[in-house]
């Protein structure tokens, strides 16, 4: 049986990320000297409590997937700590890491690409079992069937190949695979981006059900802001390798603080012609700069509608400007944040009570 993890009510966070950096080196020159880096993730810190869902949003290429992958040490992080359930995953020895893997899993963006086209459903789902258990074939099959039941896949499909399923079903396979080892923490890397609207809801509902049933903790990466609003408790907005704003969901959606978050939210299409006609979008000019060569000051200064001189020279830090709301922007003077720690803790607890 799938087991629910006890969700500790007073919590040291399950996942604690500190100053995570992931730089992909660029080599050039005759001698392949290391001449630069793609700063895909450049100093990101956040934490996720057990049973919580943190939404991670941002434009394509801003480093969301990289964060997710570095968290699970699919990439070797350049710097920073990733403490998951008390152990620093970023520095674990290979064998320990392998042992750690069952508790942290991933659901991938493209359900088609993340399933080996030559493996049957049951082999795909039992792959983690092959790796981490020495169960008999029959026991594995039982477990696979149970997993299939719980993600809503008919048991009779066990011997089919991925291409024989619809997108939503494929994503269910992916989720079943992630659940196979009873993980506590799942990184969902745009699990719905490749799906049809009518299917997206199914998958999101499934993820929510599973979370409820098993007490899972999610990092939910997406660029669909309305879906993130639906599923996440807190949301981090990323821009070019850095977190621009990290706020509780409702606060963010009702009153985004960072100019980028604001623009992002304004760009969302509300499926209602009446509202759509009234709304004014903030249209950002230009393209995202290359992460290999980010602007000198604030990463967003090249496109920011509210840009100031200071933005072009000084990188703003991510600071708590309101209770529980962290923003990296010069618009919000640092002193506002001073001494607000106590208050934030209070609201945080309060909020947990509300959402769960």
């Amino acid at each position: 049986m799938l087991e629910a993890h006890a969700v500790p009510s007073t919590a040291a966070p399950l996942v604690q990320v500190d100053g995570l950096k992931m730089h992909f080196p660029i080599y050039s020159g005759v001698l392949r000297r290391h001449t630069g880096d793609v700063k895909a993730v450049d100093g990101v810190s956040f934490s996720i409590k057990a049973g919580e869902t943190l939404g991670l949003v941002g434009e394509s290429g801003c480093g969301k997937s990289t964060v997710g992958r570095a968290l699970l040490r699919l990439y070797e992080p350049t710097a920073g700590r990733v403490i998951i359930d008390g152990q620093d995953v970023a520095s674990l020895a290979p064998e320990d890491l392998r042992k750690k893997r069952p508790m942290m899993q991933m659901v991938f963006q493209d359900p088609q690409a993340s399933l080996n086209p030559r493996m049957t459903l049951s082999r795909i789902i039992s792959e983690p079992l092959d790796e981490h258990t020495d169960w008999t074939e029959a026991k594995k099959q039982d477990w696979v069937h149970e997993l299939m039941d719980s993600v809503g896949l008919n048991r009779r499909f066990a011997n089919r190949f991925p291409h024989e399923f619809s997108g939503g079903q494929r994503q269910r396979i992916g989720i079943a695979r992630a659940l196979a080892l009873n993980p506590k923490f799942i990184v969902c890397d745009e699990p719905i981006a490749a799906l049809d609207v009518s299917i997206q809801a199914q998958v999101v509902n499934l993820l929510e059900d599973m979370q409820e049933k098993l007490g899972l903790t999610y990092l939910f990466i997406s660029h669909d802001l309305s879906m993130v609003r639906h599923i996440a408790d807190r949301v981090a907005v990323m821009y070019l390798g850095k977190i621009a704003e990290l706020s509780p969901r409702d606060d963010l959606y009702s009153r985004p603080l960072h100019p980028y978050a604001e623009a992002l939210l304004s760009a969302v299409n509300e499926p209602d012609p009446v509202i759509a006609a009234k709304r004014r979008r903030i249209i950002l000019k230009g393209d995202v700069p290359s992460p290999a060569n980010p602007p000198q000051g604030c990463n967003f200064c090249t496109r920011c509608p509210k840009v100031m001189d200071i933005c072009r020279t000084v990188k703003p830090d991510l600071i708590e400007v309101e209770a529980n709301r962290f923003v990296a922007c010069h618009l919000y003077p640092t002193n506002l944040a001073a001494g607000s720690t106590g208050a934030s803790e209070a609201t945080e607890r309060n909020q947990q009570g509300v959402t769960r």
Binding site: E59, S60, S166, G167, D196, V197, S198, I199, Q200, A201, Q202, V204, N205, E208, H223, L225, S226, M227, R229, H230, Y253, A263, L264, L265, S266, A267, V268, N269, E270, P271, D272, P273, V274, I275, A276, A277, R281, I283, L284, D287, V288
Partner: protein, 340 residues
């Protein structure tokens, strides 16, 4: 030019079938619609409902085999595109009908520079010299908001971001001032902020050029923002068609209604749980003899299993002109779908 009162494009009873090893797939079944001059017609429907196939059938872009257009008429300014010979059709493509495809990453030829790809239709249809075409290409790029256009002509697609490539695609489609622009999910692959740029651009262009546009998407949010009229497709058929506000305010078809409910809102109250449409899309293995949506329909009743419903008007106007729906079930008069 034809009579201003006539629609630019009139499609009647279009049928497209794919012959595959596993049998025939009836991807488009008896689809009829029209496009008024200067209008933007939104087409929505889930993946596989036949949106792309319908539009590509119009100018016979589907590879044949396997595709086979079994019947219907496609009147562009009164001339039937389905009966044209290859050469006249070629002269319509790109000149009278511009096409923008879904995936900007793969729709441009990676080995030719942007300039030559924009200039191609200009030279093929308008007989422009190289210099003329170049001038026009620069204009077009500026029109779609690409700064420093002259320099960018020499750039290759891979040097452009997705949003810029999609603008290039739009520039190509607009090159010969077509009467109709068909955009097949042009923003689906793009980021929200870039998507916003493109949508803004299209609104702009419509104002400037007064173009007739068909805009395919499965994002109802996009439709709500830009369309004049909406056509909902399901299982290779048009299931509902109405002016945009009417559709959102008063959806008639159970599929439309369900679709509107599945989408989480960015504002307003947050639902505890998303509505879903259970079940699978239909397998379009033959000429439909029953309602394609019946398996998933919450209002399913006897006739649904034996009769494929015809489109019927619900606001007294002729079918196709006002609000019509293809369903045996009649929605209660009260507005059920609430919006904030």
């Amino acid at each position: 030019m034809a009579d201003q009162a006539l629609p630019v494009l009139e499609v009647r009873g279009l049928k497209t079938v794919f012959r595959t090893r596993g049998g025939e797939i009836h991807a488009v079944n008896d689809v009829s619609f029209h496009l008024e001059r200067g209008e933007l017609l939104g087409v929505v429907g889930e993946s596989g409902s036949g949106k792309s196939v319908t539009m590509m059938s119009l100018i016979r872009l589907l590879p044949s085999p396997p595709a086979d257009i079994r019947g219907g008429e496609v009147l562009l300014n009164g001339k039937d595109l389905l009966k044209m010979d290859a050469e006249s059709l070629r002269q319509v493509r790109g000149a009278k009908v511009g096409f923008v495809f879904q995936d900007p990453m793969t729709s441009l030829n990676p080995v030719f520079n942007i300039g030559s790809q924009i200039m191609e239709p200009l030279r093929a249809h308008m007989g422009m010299t190289k210099a003329q075409a170049e001038t026009r290409a620069v204009e077009l790029l500026e029109l779609v908001g690409i700064p420093d256009a002259r320099k960018r002509l020499k750039a290759y697609p891979h040097q452009f971001s997705g949003g810029m490539r999609q603008r290039v695609m739009i520039a190509i489609a607009l090159a010969c001032d077509p009467d109709v622009l068909i955009a097949d999910e042009p923003t689906t692959a793009l980021d929200v902020t870039i998507q916003a740029q493109i949508l803004e651009l299209v609104k702009d262009l419509r104002q400037k050029l007064g173009m007739s546009i068909i805009w395919i998407t499965h994002d109802l949010g996009v439709i709500a923002g830009i369309a004049d009229r909406v056509m909902v497709m399901y299982g290779g058929q048009v299931v509902e068609q109405a002016p945009v506000r009417e559709l959102f305010a008063n959806p008639q078809h159970p599929y439309t209604r369900a679709l509107l409910k599945t989408i989480p809102k960015i504002s307003g109250a947050r639902d505890a749980r998303l509505k879903v449409i259970e079940g699978q899309p239909p397998i379009m293995g033959g000429v439909p003899v029953a309602c394609p949506f019946r398996e998933r329909c919450e209002y399913r009743h006897a006739p649904c299993d034996s009769i494929n419903p015809a489109r019927r008007a619900i606001d007294g106007q002729p079918v196709g002109r006002g609000h019509d729906v293809a369903c045996h079930w009649t929605a209660p008069a009260t507005q059920e779908v609430a919006h904030a």
